[in-house]
Subunit: 185 residues, 2 copies
């Protein structure tokens, strides 16, 4: 950030009065600009014994497989965001959403929520940011072609929990340095 989005003047990066960390502050109108973590929401869509995955058409991890997920928008709930992303990326409708993984990706300041969900029908297809959408059984999951560590985690948890039929919310802090797991949906 170089300029104030309110008045267009240059900003400085200093600790405001009554604060304890540096922020971008306008040198003219003194507006304090905060930067906060972003929320990513998505689904783990289940159909019988299969999971829906999307093949990414965009960077990062173009060509790798992922669960449908993306940045939450203003004015929607986390569940609605997860359903919308599933519709946008896979043209797929899901229901019975249940919070399954909550992952803090500390180095990139993202928080990812993945909902376990029922895929309603087989009328799915690739959206704009996707080249392919398929259902995979556990045996067919392309483990070496998954886009992100969080996706791998969610799938591992799912197949493990499926044995008992109990799917508790998993809470994960990923604080390793940015690498291939970086969650930029």
């Amino acid at each position: 950030m170089n300029y104030c989005s309110q008045c267009g003047s240059p900003v400085k990066f200093e600790i405001p009065e009554d604060d304890n960390r540096p922020r971008h502050i306008c040198t003219q109108c003194h507006h304090v600009h905060y930067s906060n973590p972003k929320l990513v929401a998505g689904c783990l869509p289940v159909f019988e014994d299969k999971i829906l995955l999307c093949k990414r058409a965009i960077e990062p991890r173009n060509g790798y497989w992922t669960l449908p997920a993306g940045y939450m928008e203003n004015g929607e709930s986390t569940r609605h965001a997860a359903q919308r992303e599933t519709l946008e990326e896979a043209n797929a409708r899901v229901s019975d959403l249940q919070l399954y993984t909550l992952t803090s990706l500390t180095p990139v300041s993202h928080v990812q929520l993945i909902y376990l969900a029922q895929l309603e029908d087989l009328n799915f297809s690739a959206g704009d940011e996707t080249t392919d959408v398929r259902l995979f059984t556990e045996q067919d999951i392309p483990w070496d072609k998954l886009a992100f560590q969080t996706i791998r985690n969610a799938l591992h948890f799912y197949f493990e929990d499926r044995k008992s039929g109990i799917f508790p919310t998993r809470h994960i802090d990923l604080d390793m340095p940015p690498g291939r797991y970086v969650e930029q949906p």
Copy 2:
């Protein structure tokens, strides 16, 4: 938003190519500025049969009681944010954090996470944004002096769940129009 934070030129509010909703776009450098929901994290600190509450020293809801909570910062996990806010607002140390409520406050584009936590000791005191910190039994909770609907919800759930000793994660969408529940920590 009036000006581009990258180059200082005026922005327009239009739907970018390959997008489906309007964003602030720089008229000169064409940078697209996204605005996303903010995460609020906090704790419901338990000590024996009592709950720690903070009396707010700031607007909104100055003078009303709340759980310690505030905006998550970049570079921290959700649990760390909840612990930090508890330390900042109540000078209180908590452990054994367990995700308890996840609330989408759709009209104000906030997502609030409240963690059930054990208060470690009685060495707490009011922080900068607080005038008083106290422990309350269920009978003493100031129900008509609580700051926000989300705080009321978390406390109601807690006293209900305490009967069984089972504290499942509660998932709530609050989409009523902004009012006294508005969560601006």
